[in-house]
């Protein structure tokens, strides 16, 4: 598995999560369109980015480091 943000446990691009974070996005746009595409938020750095981005803090989905819980798991989005 490549170390891209899209494969990181901190990355979340679930539309419902994004709608909750970006309140008001549905008024004139949506998180389901091509303009958003597959971009999501990094729950570790509070950034909004593409899954093709990279970062030194990459953590593979499903791997739990001592003292650090899975952000996606904390939001009920754990996938593996």
């Amino acid at each position: 598995m490549s170390r891209l943000c899209g494969h990181c446990k901190h990355f979340d691009n679930d539309p419902l999560t994004l709608e909750d974070v970006f309140k008001g996005i549905n008024i004139l746009s949506s998180v389901h369109g091509s303009c958003r595409g597959d971009a999501g938020i990094c729950l570790r750095h509070d950034l909004y980015l593409l899954p093709s981005h990279t970062c030194p803090d990459f953590q593979e989905i499903g791997v739990v480091v001592a003292g650090m819980s899975s952000a996606r798991g904390a939001m009920g989005q754990e996938t593996s």
Binding site: V21, F22, K23, G24, I25, N26, I27, L28, S29, S30, V31, H32, G33, S34, C35, R36, G37, D38, A39, I41, D46, L47, Y48, L49, L50, S52, H53, T54
Partner: protein, 410 residues
């Protein structure tokens, strides 16, 4: 909007309350009613005007945000693209490409949405004041501020920040002045501005990782251009091409036919008639085209009747009922108007109107100022400076520099 701000809509209603789906459906349907030739004729001007305005507005907001208010460059890019390209969609497309702070995206959405909603009312009121009453042309004797509906649509397309909000303005103008403002708005906003969002995302992603972050490991592929491309525009072009092909398939042997008793209807006139053609003398030149069947009580005309031919036929009439019957025959002899328009284009326009009605309903019900007004004054003022540049620039380009092009579009 009042209901939406007083009472929060239930969760189960949110799926039906997605503005973007209705506006995209409306734009695709709009493609079916827009002649392809119009896009070829005015598309280049729309692109040129959009380029001038987009670059000017983006630079203004970006420089105001970063130089005057000392905001983060990526935040400036998010705000700038929201004002220059395609509103909230532009902000989220660029936000992902430049790796913006998620709070900056939220603020960008708030600022762009508030200004877009303000501009719905401001542009609708101002343009309706500037356009002369229906039927009154803009001449040298008109007030200095007088503009045509076509110019108004182009201006709205240049100075409104979101498709849905812009359509709210031009649909309002169109109720009195016909489809010209909708056509020029679509050319300007959808073809001129929206389709370049992928290019903006690609360029800003390169600038971000090369100059702002200096991240040597980051790579930006040209694929982002396609990924961010608003795909509904393909539906718009597809519908436009399909309908243009169908329009070109008009049968050469089409025979217009009308009963001698009926009702003539046009946009401006409605008249019932009961004509008697038993003594009617057909002009010799048109004897091979015009026919009267007294048993079936119908008159027919082979091929499309020109206005000269109509004039020739009416010159031999003896009653006004015959004139109205011939006018109706003139209409039915035009395959595009009597068959394609009435059976396909007109229902599509009705459907399109409903798509926009639901779109505006969704904007109203989903707008909660409490959720939007969470931004500080610095991003608001940076964006406002962009508005101050964008609106007069859009007005000048639409009504002075490229005025002839927008006036010509009906």
């Amino acid at each position: 909007m009042i209901i939406g701000n007083i009472k929060k809509m239930p969760k189960w209603f949110h799926t039906a309350m997605r503005t973007e789906y209705y506006i995209k459906t409306g734009i695709v349907l709009l493609g079916a009613t827009l002649p392809l030739t119009l896009i070829f004729e005015a598309g280049g001007i729309a692109f040129l005007q959009a380029t001038i305005v987009s670059i000017g507005t983006w630079m203004t907001i970006f420089l105001a945000a970063t130089r005057i208010f000392k905001l983060d460059r990526r935040f400036g890019a998010v705000l700038g693209t929201g004002g220059a390209v395609c509103g909230v969609s532009g902000s989220i497309a660029i936000g992902g490409a430049v790796r913006a702070d998620k709070d900056h995206i939220s603020i960008g959405i708030g600022v762009v949405s508030v200004w877009a909603i303000v501009m719905v009312f401001a542009l609708a009121i101002v343009t309706k004041f500037m356009i002369p009453p229906p039927g009154v042309p803009v001449t040298d004797a008109s007030p200095w501020y007088a503009i045509t509906p076509g110019e108004a649509g182009a201006w709205v397309g240049t100075s409104e920040y979101a498709d849905a909000a812009g359509f709210a303005v031009v649909a309002e103008i169109a109720t009195q002045y016909g489809d010209a403002p909708i056509h020029t708005f679509t050319l300007m906003k959808v073809i001129g501005r929206d389709i370049w969002i992928g290019i903006w995302a690609f360029i800003l992603a390169i600038i971000s990782c090369t100059f702002w972050e200096r991240d040597k490991s980051a790579t930006v592929g040209a694929r982002v251009i396609w990924d961010r491309f608003p795909k509904f525009v393909l539906g718009f072009f597809g519908a436009c091409i399909i309908m243009s092909i169908i329009a070109g398939l008009a049968p050469e042997d089409h025979v217009g036919k009308t009963a001698v008793k009926g009702t003539f209807k046009s946009k401006a006139q409605k008249q019932t008639f009961d004509a008697d053609f038993s003594d009617y003398q057909v002009p010799e030149q048109l004897a091979h085209k015009f026919a009267h069947d007294p048993e079936a009580r119908v008159i027919t005309f082979k091929g499309k009747m020109s206005l000269d031919e109509l004039s020739l036929l009416t010159s031999n009439t003896t009653t006004s009922d015959q004139v109205w019957a011939l006018k109706n025959l003139h209409y039915t002899s035009d395959w595009y108007e009597s068959e394609l328009y009435s059976r396909a284009i007109s229902p599509i326009k009705t459907l399109r109107s409903w798509a926009f009605v639901f779109c505006f309903l969704c904007i109203g019900l989903s707008t909660r100022f409490k959720d939007l007004l969470t931004f500080g004054m610095k991003p608001f003022w940076a964006f406002t400076i962009g508005v101050i540049v964008n609106v007069p620039l859009g007005f000048t380009l639409s009504t002075v520099v490229f005025s002839n092009y927008w006036q010509a579009i009906k």
